[in-house]
């Protein structure tokens, strides 16, 4: 942990930036023609160094999100002197080795791009932030930046929502910069709920500019800076039976699951629904 900071030096704009880098090898090889991992790394490293230059007391911590594990690869406050971001490279290599060794032996070719363990790295980032909170009243303001590209894994839904809510409670904004092809519903919700910024850059070779313009802003400055906002988060409900988005439907009063048509029994919790009142007069005439 860093030595205690005298209060005179700790100004409003000191930030602790937790960066979560997506190191899903499948994703990176699929995106290879457009954008390579090395280019990505160079943009990110330049960005991290510039964050460290903004303020003497800024801290940066980098976590790698693999497909089998997550790990810390860089902590600027470790060691007596603040380190440059390049020192994360050997650690990153180690991490990739480790991740590979954890994956199963059989070849998953043509399987589509799997998802990386976003929930794991979010939780680790939040734990680090909690430790910083408990170190005393004087600490930099933490925020999380997710550089993510892999598709969302439905199995992580609950875990990610939990980490989002705990981030919301600790008032830690989660910024998202999506470098993949498609938008990420998880990260949209994360940024919306925690009050962070969600951005999907149009031009990936200008990534550094995006990072420096939008994501380098500290929390204090965000009060008076205007940052890009997404058009809207889709919170519309979809029915459980057909997965269509609906505006009007039936809701089970026990478990709140949504159906587009009247059903006899709720498929989620098994409670039987009561009969609707006689619908049309002609039905009674049919006797």
């Amino acid at each position: 942990m860093s030595p205690p900071v005298p209060s005179k030096i700790l100004t409003d704009d000191v930030s602790l930036l937790m960066v979560l880098i997506d190191t899903n090898p499948h994703f990176w090889s699929s995106i290879k023609p457009h954008f390579s991992f090395s280019k990505f790394l160079s943009h990110v490293l330049a960005f991290l160094n510039s964050i460290l230059l903004l303020n003497q007391l800024n801290q940066v911590v980098v976590l790698a999100t693999g497909i089998n594990s997550c790990g810390y690869v860089f902590d600027s406050s470790s060691g007596s002197v603040s380190q440059r971001a390049e020192s994360l490279l050997p650690k990153l290599e180690e991490f990739a080795e480790n991740d590979e060794s954890l994956s199963e032996r059989d070849d998953d070719s043509g399987n589509g791009v799997g998802s990386s363990l976003l929930s794991g790295s979010l939780s680790m980032a939040l734990c680090y932030i909690q430790r910083v909170f408990r170190s005393g009243p004087l600490h930099p303001q933490p925020r999380i930046l997710c550089l993510h590209g892999s598709p969302d894994g439905p199995g992580q839904y609950v875990a990610i929502m939990n980490s989002i809510f705990s981030a919301q409670r600790s008032m830690v904004p989660i910024d998202s910069c999506v470098i993949g092809i498609q938008h990420s519903a998880f990260l949209q919700q994360a940024s919306y709920i925690t009050g962070g910024v969600y951005l999907k850059p149009q031009q990936l070779d200008g990534l550094f500019q995006y990072l420096a313009t939008v994501f380098a802003t500290d929390l204090h400055s965000r009060n008076f800076l205007r940052l890009p906002k997404p058009v809207g988060v889709d919170f519309r409900a979809s029915c459980f039976c057909h997965k269509n988005t609906i505006d009007m439907g039936f809701i089970c009063s026990v478990c709140l699951s949504i159906f587009c048509k009247h059903q006899k029994k709720c498929s989620t919790c098994g409670s039987t629904f009561g009969q609707a009142k006689t619908l049309d007069p002609s039905a009674s005439q049919q006797r």
């Binding site: 290879k32 790394l41 990153l92 070849d107 589509g112 519903a185 070779d205 550094f208 889709d234 919790c269």
Partner: protein
């Protein structure tokens, strides 16, 4: 010429413009709401026909003076002076006028209130009406809605208030239901000793009497027995006061002596048997099971006297004096119990006897209830047996709940993902997913290669192409400035605030009316009765009236605000459209169904 009916009074009188004026003779006719004066001489211009509403007061001369005058005064300063032939006549008229003025005064006041609340079919109590009126007065938005719909005839009162029951109840419960409690002043019966003479004065107000009866049932019983048979009320209270005085002197022997002489006095001086019985009953109801957890309070070994309270000035008296000793702690306990119980009866305090009887009745009712409560004993035994069970030695009880089986949340999430993509207008649909045709091993290899590439070559120089950077900056700036007019989640600024006040008010009013209408509209489906059908039609008509108003607002607003306003209005229009569509579909269905019948059998 007095008409015996109370509705009309006719008397001969003279109308005078002033006291000195001899006056015009004529006939004065009084009815409930007006009075008329017709002079005997038809050609005289002195004719009056005045409503009592305008008359504010009346003055009259005293009986026995020279003239029997009645002066009816108006608000604006005018007055009508009538002289009667004799005083009885005048008095009859005076009384009638008084009641007529009072009546018309009330009527004037209640008329405007009635117009605020329309006539309805349901039976409402006055309290309920009051509550509603109060609620309407407090909340101006609610009043606007009420005026718009109920007075406009679109919704009925009952429907309007049916969804607001909670508001009414809340209002009702907010009114303080406090009643004045009994005084906690135990020494109110202390006599005022007059230092100079040997008289001691007691002040007994009805309140004090109520308290005495509540605290001392023996006194109450004695009152019911003695008064008015053996002594008057005054005597009773004198004896009681004497007894109190004797107690206050703490002279037990003197008390005993007096009690021996006077039988009635003895009642007041002795211990209260009824209280004793009550206390015994209460003790029996105490839960005998205790929690035997020991704590510091249980350490009585080290306290003097083992912690037992000791009354050191306990004089040993003869047993014959014991009944006359008054115990302060008993009195205090009883007093406290009565004060905490509050007012048990609702009888007027003036009549002592009725108070005593009412208290006696309540006590009887309590006793009867306890006596007849067979289950009380059974319940107590059950409770005791339950408490004496030792928890550790019992078998675990199954929770009486049915397990809830909830589906895998992943299934739900899958659908959300697809929706999120489709709404974000992604060019890449779900089908065109990324295909990784490379094996895992190869993928990792390339990853590690990239890392080592950077390690050896260093960061690319320049990090970013200047043209690209410029393009990015422009794009971001445009995005941000266009977002400024977008409705996004912005906790600092609300779009509504930037609109002119009138527009904002209108929009909010329309929004709340649409909410109300839609609520009632959707709740009336599925339509099963004719009543619901007419209701739905009425609501639909009201909604179609609001629809063009919304369009108007959109147009009327300035051009730079138009986009925001249209975004605000959009969901309202959509909701209305959905309702209209549903209504039309339903109407079509109905007509199709009813049209089918003559054709096919």
């Amino acid at each position: 010429m007095a008409d015996k009916q109370q509705q009309v009074v006719v008397k001969r009188a003279r109308h005078k413009s002033s006291v000195k004026d001899p006056g015009t003779p004529g006939v004065l006719k009084l009815t409930k709401d007006r009075f008329t004066f017709m002079p005997n001489d038809p050609s005289s211009p002195v004719k009056h026909n005045v409503e009592f509403r305008t008359i504010k007061g009346h003055k009259f001369t005293k009986d026995g003076t020279k003239q029997a005058l009645l002066n009816l005064t108006q608000d604006q300063g005018g007055n009508y002076i009538f002289e009667f032939e004799n005083f009885p006549d005048r008095n009859v008229c005076k009384d009638f006028v008084a009641s007529a003025i009072a009546l018309s005064g009330e009527a004037g006041r209640t008329v405007p209130e009635k117009s605020a609340v329309p006539i309805q079919d349901e039976q409402l109590s006055a309290a309920e009406m009051e509550r509603r009126i109060k609620l309407l007065q407090e909340d101006s938005d609610l009043q606007k809605l009420h005026k718009q719909f109920v007075i406009g005839g679109i919704l009925s009162e009952a429907e309007f208030w049916a969804t607001r029951k909670k508001l009414l109840e809340q209002n009702y419960s907010r009114r303080p239901k406090q009643r004045v409690a009994l005084k906690n002043d135990m020494w109110s019966t202390k006599p005022l000793a007059d230092g100079q003479s040997n008289r001691v004065t007691f002040n007994l107000t009805p309140e004090i009497i109520l308290q005495i009866f509540a605290e001392k049932p023996a006194v109450r019983q004695a009152y019911l027995n003695f008064v008015p048979n053996k002594m008057t009320e005054k005597e009773f209270w004198t004896k009681y006061s004497r007894a109190e005085y004797l107690h206050s002197t703490k002279n037990v022997i003197a008390a005993a002596a007096e009690a021996a002489e006077d039988e009635e006095l003895a009642v007041f001086l002795k211990q209260d048997d009824m209280l004793v019985n009550e206390a015994r009953k209460k003790i029996r109801q105490v839960d005998p099971t205790l929690d035997m957890e020991a704590d510091e309070g249980d350490d009585y070994m080290h306290l003097p006297d083992h912690g037992l309270p000791r009354n050191d000035n306990k004089d040993v008296l003869d047993s014959q004096y014991e009944p006359y000793r008054r115990s302060f702690s008993q009195h205090l306990n009883q007093h406290a119990a009565v004060v905490l119980q509050g007012r048990v009866i609702d009888v007027e305090l003036g009549d002592t006897r009725s108070v005593a009887e009412a208290l006696a009745r309540t006590k009887h009712a309590e006793l009867a209830k306890d006596a007849s409560d067979v289950y009380l004993d059974k319940e107590r035994l059950e409770r005791i047996s339950r408490m004496t069970e030792i928890e550790d030695l019992q078998a675990p009880r199954d929770p009486a709940v049915a397990p809830l089986s909830i589906k895998d949340p992943r299934d739900y999430f899958d659908s959300q993902q697809a929706n999120a993509f489709s709404t974000l207008g992604d060019t890449v649909s779900g089908a065109k997913q990324l295909k990784c045709s490379v094996s895992t091993r190869e993928a990792y290899c390339s990853l590690k290669e990239c890392i080592s590439e950077i390690k050896f070559q260093g960061l690319t120089e320049p990090t970013i192409n200047s043209e690209v950077a410029f393009k990015v900056l422009n794009g971001l700036a445009q995005n941000i400035s266009s977002n400024k007019y977008h409705l996004g989640r912005n906790p600092n600024e609300s779009v509504l605030d930037s609109l002119p006040k009138i527009t904002r008010e209108e929009l909010l009013l329309h929004w709340s009316s649409i909410q109300e209408l839609l609520k009632h509209f959707w709740s009336s489906y599925p339509i099963t009765t004719k009543y619901l059908l007419t209701k739905a039609t009425k609501l639909k008509d009201a909604m179609s009236q609001i629809y063009p108003k919304l369009q108007e607002i959109k147009e009327s607003v300035q051009s730079d605000l138009r986009h925001q306003v249209s975004l605000l209005v959009q969901p309202m229009l959509q909701a209305l459209d959905a309702a209209f569509a549903h209504y039309d579909a339903d109407v079509q269905n109905r007509s199709a169904r009813s049209g089918e019948r003559p054709n096919g059998f």
